[in-house]
Amino acid sequence: MVGTIPIAWVLTLAAGLFCIGLFGALSRRNTVGILMGIELMLNSVNINLVAFWRYLRPMGTAGLTFTVFTIAVAAAEVAVGLAMVIAIYRARQTINADEADTLKG
């Protein structure tokens, strides 16, 4: 079904998403915004994994398994990240990354 599309297109799409995520993670002041950028990057990695699985090893399960792991890890990352955001907010009344500049909580 997907075999008619060259794999390079899918990878380019993933690359674009990755770069958008990178831009977001680098340029947002808001900590939650940064987290969202990271989410985009993780998603693009997942697209890559699935694409490689589908095009190169469709009978194997390595790509699928690793995607599952990535999703799980991303969920964990978001949970901890947002918890930290809330902790920072509570301590400093701000969630802007450039204002949370002390190590002391």
């Binding site: 075999g3 599309i5 690359a15 958008i20 831009f23 997942n46 697209i47 399960t61």
Partner: protein, 227 residues
Amino acid sequence: MNYVVLTIFFLLSALTLGSGIMVVTVKNIIHAALWLISTFVGVAALYMLMEAEFLAIVQVLVYAGAVSILVLFAIMLTRQITGTGTRQLHSRWWVAMLTAAALFGGVIVPTVWQQGSSWDKTASDAQAILVQQATEANGGTRPEIIPVAGTEELGAALMGEYLLPFEVVSLLLTAALIGAILIAFEERTRRRRVLTLAEELALRKRGIVEPHDEEGAVVPVDAEQAV
């Protein structure tokens, strides 16, 4: 080349990339989170297109249904700081843009397109092997449907070949859960607690005169000791 599939692919690409751009550029952070959901759904549809249906559903379930809601909740809990009035981007956002653009145009795309043809060849080889196997299994004629690894294989792999990573990931999730709770929750004793009438009376009966904090709220006794 199958134009329907191609059209669907381009539409999904547009949805995913467009929403992604909105996520990083839009001013209102809540809108950014909503655009993020749209991106996730687009990615899920891409998985569906690539016949990873289980992953697509997990993507919707975890990302669109849970992660994005978590993000929205976090935004709402911290909302008065992140109103539309505040500046959302760094003053040097263009550096970030240049970096991302350079990465995209200078590194990834050339690599991908250079390697693309060889990958395509590998891919068509893999497809040919698949078709051949299916034909043999079908007794010489090419079957209507070509098998790829599905949910059952994934489950078997997670329980067999990848058992250790699976357990490690589950451990990681548990640790993250506990960590998140620990970080986000205030200590019980620090919480401001409003006593009910009965509780207040019970305290008074026991001779405990409850101290008041500066806001006039009653602070339980052990809170004082803990601080």
